[in-house]
């Protein structure tokens, strides 16, 4: 997507799997869209129909990282090893999305690089970079998911206190980064401090409120 100055602001992206070793004009082509405003194709792509599948348990809370991929027996693709990958990204000039893209994507992008959490009870004064961090409880409360922030691929497990501190360097790798090649030391760090579950939600609320102030 481009803004009013015709500058690219976001990419709309698709993944294609094309078999290159056969020439059968009768082969069916499937176009797969995932529904839901704002929801991407990752669910059907990586859960149902793509060649690789994310392993998650059924009817229970997802265990902590590392997350595993496996060959997908349910894929609609035929041909196994002969498949080829093709990706394309095109920039669309959708002016009506430019406003929120300018404001929000930048913040999310920052978040991806400025990870997060704190220790003890101190919340930093300088939390401009983390205005978009929301935490929500899932399931039995033993698992927290970054909500406003799901693009960043963080699920924090057994987290009881979420705090944000502007601590430079020395970050502990308490969360798994989406991009495993990420090696830079974050400007802020996240640490997980277990506490009694009963104190959890009140603390979360107040911390989140303070962080967002």
């Amino acid at each position: 997507m481009k803004n009013e100055k015709d500058e690219p602001q976001a990419l709309i992206y698709s993944t294609s799997y094309i078999r290159t070793d056969v020439k059968d004009p009768a082969r069916p082509i499937s176009f797969i869209y995932n529904g839901g405003p704002g929801s991407a194709s990752v669910w059907l792509h990586m859960g149902a129909f793509g060649p690789r599948r994310v392993l998650t348990p059924n009817a229970e809370s997802t265990p902590p990282a590392p997350y595993k991929l496996a060959d997908n027996a349910g894929t609609l693709l035929r041909g196994g090893q002969s498949r080829a990958f093709h990706q394309s990204a095109r920039i669309f000039g959708l002016r009506k999305f430019a406003r929120f893209v300018q404001k929000r994507v930048e913040v999310r992008g920052l978040l991806l690089q400025h990870f997060v959490i704190g220790s003890r009870r101190r919340v930093a004064r300088d939390v401009e970079n983390v205005r978009q961090v929301f935490a929500g409880m899932e399931g039995d409360g033993s698992q927290i998911e970054h909500r406003g922030n799901q693009d960043d691929a963080v699920e924090v497990h057994a987290l009881m206190f979420l705090q944000i501190i502007p601590q430079r360097g020395g970050a502990e790798r308490a969360v798994t980064f989406a991009d495993q090649e990420f090696r830079r030391i974050p400007d802020a760090s996240i640490r997980v401090t277990p506490a009694r579950p009963t104190t959890f939600s009140a603390n979360m609320r107040s911390l989140t409120r303070r962080a967002l102030r």
Binding site: P28, A40, M46, G47, A48, L76, G109
Partner: protein, 139 residues
Amino acid sequence: MTGAFTAAFNGYVRSDLKFGQDKTYHAISEGVGSNWDWKHQAGRGRGFFPGSPNVEGDLIQAMLANPHLKVEVENGLYDMATPFFATEYTMEHLGLPEKLQKNIRLQYYDAGHMMYLREDDLAKLKSNIGAFIESASKP
């Protein structure tokens, strides 16, 4: 499950597909969701009244325009977000001629709308959709 999918995809797209090193993938974008334009103009009209976002009319129009179009809906029996019964009701109240109504088929799974998270249903989904594609692509 969101974190597992997003993390795994981000690794997969960069390591296996070699794409998007410097890009952010929005698995669920609240920016898009909260700014979604819910207005929907059914059919080809250009009226100013947006109406409600009901896309049944689009399905009916497509099925009438192309009587060979086959439709299959995969339903999770335990889905609280898009419950199967509402789908049944909708599909049975499109007002299609009987001949076209036969082009709609409903399938059911012992899971929610992400039935593929359950391995038994993943296999069933593949089998059903494979059969659907075979039957729908016959001349």
